[in-house]
Subunit: 370 residues, 4 copies
Amino acid sequence: MSSSYGERFRLTIFGQSHAPAIGVTMEGLPAGIAVDEGRLQAFLARRAPGKSPTATSRREADTVEFLAGLVQGRTCGAPLTAIIRNTNTRSHDYDNLRDCPRPGHADYPAQVKFGGYQDVAGGGHFSGRLTAPLCIAGGIALQVLEKLGVTVAAHIQSIGDVDDDGFDPAEVNAVQLRALLEKPFPVLRDGAAAEMKQAILAAKADLDSLGGVIECAAVGVPAGWGDPMFGGMENRIAQLVFGIPAIRGIEFGLGFPAARLRGSAHNDAYYMDGSAVRTRTNRHGGILGGITSGMPIVFRAAVKPTPSIAQAQKSVSLSKGQNVSLEVHGRHDPCIVPRAVPVMEAAAAIAILDAYFCAGTNTKEGSPWI
Amino acid sequence: MSSSYGERFRLTIFGQSHAPAIGVTMEGLPAGIAVDEGRLQAFLARRAPGKSPTATSRREADTVEFLAGLVQGRTCGAPLTAIIRNTNTRSHDYDNLRDCPRPGHADYPAQVKFGGYQDVAGGGHFSGRLTAPLCIAGGIALQVLEKLGVTVAAHIQSIGDVDDDGFDPAEVNAVQLRALLEKPFPVLRDGAAAEMKQAILAAKADLDSLGGVIECAAVGVPAGWGDPMFGGMENRIAQLVFGIPAIRGIEFGLGFPAARLRGSAHNDAYYMDGSAVRTRTNRHGGILGGITSGMPIVFRAAVKPTPSIAQAQKSVSLSKGQNVSLEVHGRHDPCIVPRAVPVMEAAAAIAILDAYFCAGTNTKEGSPWI
Amino acid sequence: MSSSYGERFRLTIFGQSHAPAIGVTMEGLPAGIAVDEGRLQAFLARRAPGKSPTATSRREADTVEFLAGLVQGRTCGAPLTAIIRNTNTRSHDYDNLRDCPRPGHADYPAQVKFGGYQDVAGGGHFSGRLTAPLCIAGGIALQVLEKLGVTVAAHIQSIGDVDDDGFDPAEVNAVQLRALLEKPFPVLRDGAAAEMKQAILAAKADLDSLGGVIECAAVGVPAGWGDPMFGGMENRIAQLVFGIPAIRGIEFGLGFPAARLRGSAHNDAYYMDGSAVRTRTNRHGGILGGITSGMPIVFRAAVKPTPSIAQAQKSVSLSKGQNVSLEVHGRHDPCIVPRAVPVMEAAAAIAILDAYFCAGTNTKEGSPWI
Amino acid sequence: MSSSYGERFRLTIFGQSHAPAIGVTMEGLPAGIAVDEGRLQAFLARRAPGKSPTATSRREADTVEFLAGLVQGRTCGAPLTAIIRNTNTRSHDYDNLRDCPRPGHADYPAQVKFGGYQDVAGGGHFSGRLTAPLCIAGGIALQVLEKLGVTVAAHIQSIGDVDDDGFDPAEVNAVQLRALLEKPFPVLRDGAAAEMKQAILAAKADLDSLGGVIECAAVGVPAGWGDPMFGGMENRIAQLVFGIPAIRGIEFGLGFPAARLRGSAHNDAYYMDGSAVRTRTNRHGGILGGITSGMPIVFRAAVKPTPSIAQAQKSVSLSKGQNVSLEVHGRHDPCIVPRAVPVMEAAAAIAILDAYFCAGTNTKEGSPWI
């Protein structure tokens, strides 16, 4: 089903932007996992709206309420359900969207698919607000991965024409990633944050919006996670990441530029680093044949500019069959890229944890069936 | 499971490069669909090896044999299983890969995951040869989609540094796509084919390989196919496309360049084209919120250079824990991009057909439950 | 995942007996379906606790709260999530169950599986209380099925040694079933209710409990729903029904007694009833080869006696490795059969509706792909 | 999809009675498992047709051919596909079944569902012949379970009115089960085999058929396998067993008779057997709350009499809308119960192995995430 993801760590996201609540049910977590609700709330705060002039003015506390699955702070083996109540909703902003679809939004396809019964308020189930429950699941996945020695963090690779430095894919490490997680506007290059914010505010002043690219890394993943063909680590991550609104592309390792290289320049040579097998370079981004190599996982995702802009735009009246001019009201982010950073980390963590649980029946020394 | 794909048109691919056979079982096809085996075989011939100096010298007839599911040339509602016998196998080429993993291949991760029990001959289940059964499923999906008015075709967007023109995403149409399907080396720009072949042969002469980008379009898909969140058309296509070996990235519509635009320059304005709703531009690539808009679906995928090159490369001996020099024998494509074109069409067709079947319970005029 | 069910009408049940809430998320319902909350609440009232001397004294209003998926009383195509707050919980009753497992309960297997982290209060996720969210999903499924002309109802076939009459499987009809739905203690034979209640009270007076059998019928299901092999209507219903606590067996049509007949006495002869194909008898219970025949669907499920009894029982102390005597406190039903009747209807409705949605790609006159 | 089963040990069965082949693809088996093809073939021989006067005269060698997934006799982590070629087919026997459905068969429902495109020859995909690939998967599952210390065997509980003794559910053990596996006609009571064969031949002489009950046990399954709710061991086994043609009911432990007992007479008391927790009786059949208790798993399934009988029967002509008399030709078993015994063992083994693989993320001592 389309609002569910995962094989062994399975999550189902529910809610609409202006429904009573949004939330997530997680199945497959073993019993006994301690969930640190304080850290989870702090993780969610990184994507919560209403904090800065570069984001939407909608304010939501985004307080996580666990309805089921926790006993004295630990998972009990039953599904884990957490919700966030929607409070600051103003549904009258969206009244005419059933007839006049907003360019760049799901309004028109949804109208055709759902015959007019879809929830249009605030984008309904298509809203970026649904990334909050994704972050609940991801925040918990990150806590579990931490116990397995895995660290995940992302930075803003670019906003509009302002570029950050990229990760050194062979050298990126947990220390560097943890430092990134502390930054309110996570970039690698000094000065990039200020330039990016400036670009966002300039677009906002023009009643316009900006997109960008997010780069995400996971370190500490051992070799052997992920599966062949459609269960590859890229497949898993991509299937999840395209569930985040506004994503237009994803690339792993060197990505699209790899298509311009020769094999001799693209292959990563193996060497022994003590008793460990490593590659000196990491153009493969930590994944070969869908399975992790032990090198850092690195991928980038392109985020389109927020389609909701305050300028008048050309649309149609579906009922009248006429061209019309549309002004989009409501409260929107001039650029969602900064708030999408923890969402990308959440997505990576969920996909990696699911792959780990799927690897449970791998062949290991001493497997009883051999 | 990782060798399976799809929700309502469900395929499971089996086989290894040097197993007795490779094949696919397809579930979910309604009964009564006529399968044109001649056209299917012709479709497979487009990706079959052994045809040109730019491809591997391994020759396989790739004759499709239906084991089950067809009665007098039509589906009967039972699973459809088709196989291709492997004949031209030379497994002794691969003897030492369990110990010395090839750079850029799945050898090392597979060794860790499968404890040495994986099939190394010819890449085993990771081989590009497994795209042949994907093309069986895709070839059938294409025949079904044709009946639904959908045409799918791809072209080589680039090989190495040689670029083809791109599709005009708002204007690409079935006539143009069908012409492309007739070309042995499908490009849009006159002269691009010769330049690309030249580049491949130059790399081959240097004992090297090349990658490239494939652009794929589907026209005739009406608005309303695909699902929100993780069942979006991009999610479906991406999950499938990353199952093709060597894919490093995928982008929809304008893709990564969208991240550098402002919203006002990226949004596609709606207008009435007679009684049809269309967009004048198609930077969104025919998909909004995961659901088709009725405009052409356009995406591109990056293919890395073939990792198997005849040059000596640096690797390790896993048993000795030492660095070694490795020479990869066997027969390989200096560039797999041309042969991957029909594979990309197959992948798109499978994902789109699955989305169509999933849309079976959409809300339509006269639905009994309203 | 084990708390999820269904292919196209997919539900995930969450909650524990003493968690803040229990609930269900339903995916796959088309947009536009009107949900009558009043009738849903009335349906739930049929299984709610605390109503009669033959049931547990735990009182719960079981008020359904929709968190997501409804807009102005209609489904909107997004997941539908509904919860029931748990209010009347007394967790101190269950303190020692982690060490001394109750006979006939899941305590010991759960202790082994979940390593002691399972929720023991009130049976946790194993509690019969989790049939309330199943009834939410089932109540909605029943409303949808009604629009499709399908009526589902069950009666108490037996409690202890008191037997009700059985359905006439070839003649049972919607009028008869609707009458059954009005009865607070649904039986077919006059006098059976009083005898059964008497048996329950007698068992209760002896600090004991009783089991029974429930017979369920669905009429109005046309021929052609359900799928071959593992997707047969029996498979679907059985997979769901064994998710109800205390079920020990299920049989379709004539069931176990069929094993004693000869084929000539068991086969149901076809005949034309006007233009309709019917069978004169209905020993097959409306299902052949997993697919509905158009005759009424009839099945029976055996419910074991409530394992919680007030008598002292023999158990063990897991920590001490010693035999001990155990007295089970808490509030329990001396017989859950009456409250399980609507649960069985819910299960049947869910399975049938899922099969209907799965049949969306059946071959029909005018299918576009033929 | 309806011809697939399982979560972590996933099998897809394909083929029709008279297709070129029948077969199965198994996903999820870890790499490195040795498959003893000789023992597998011997297991299949137990259900193969053409051996005795009590079975069909259709003769098939049922030779298993592995197409993929095995390397030097061991699984390699890729899907395992095995087929059996159909050789002894006589399709002309079935020509008129599209118009005149056989009583007790899937002909009529299939005609409605598949619009006449279904394969009618030999029952097509509904044929009992499809239990051969189920036995391939089951035979391999049994070999794996043996390595895990689990033994599975079934006996004929009854045929017509001839009853065998039942297992002593608390005492049944591997020695007893292995002895049963050696018997050509597996029963517990001396003399039962001869009486049953006599009953079958009597029915055959009357151009009639018989049904029966099969009882199956699995010993050596430790406590803690299986999952709550819909993933319970009963749910898993039932979903699979109803995929075997002609099954009309299934019951676990004491089964339907449990419904007549009081709780005090039904609950199984725990006691310490040295350091092991056991129950003195085993009315629960080794499963509580869907999870194994460590006691033997015991279940029974009812098999209806073979619907194909040589007597003239009443049916209809679908094209003419008239009642007609039908004589069923073809070769059929007067009683399939003996041949269904290994099928039941296969089903149990598959379900139990899948549950074992699903238990991979159970909470165990030293789990990294606690």
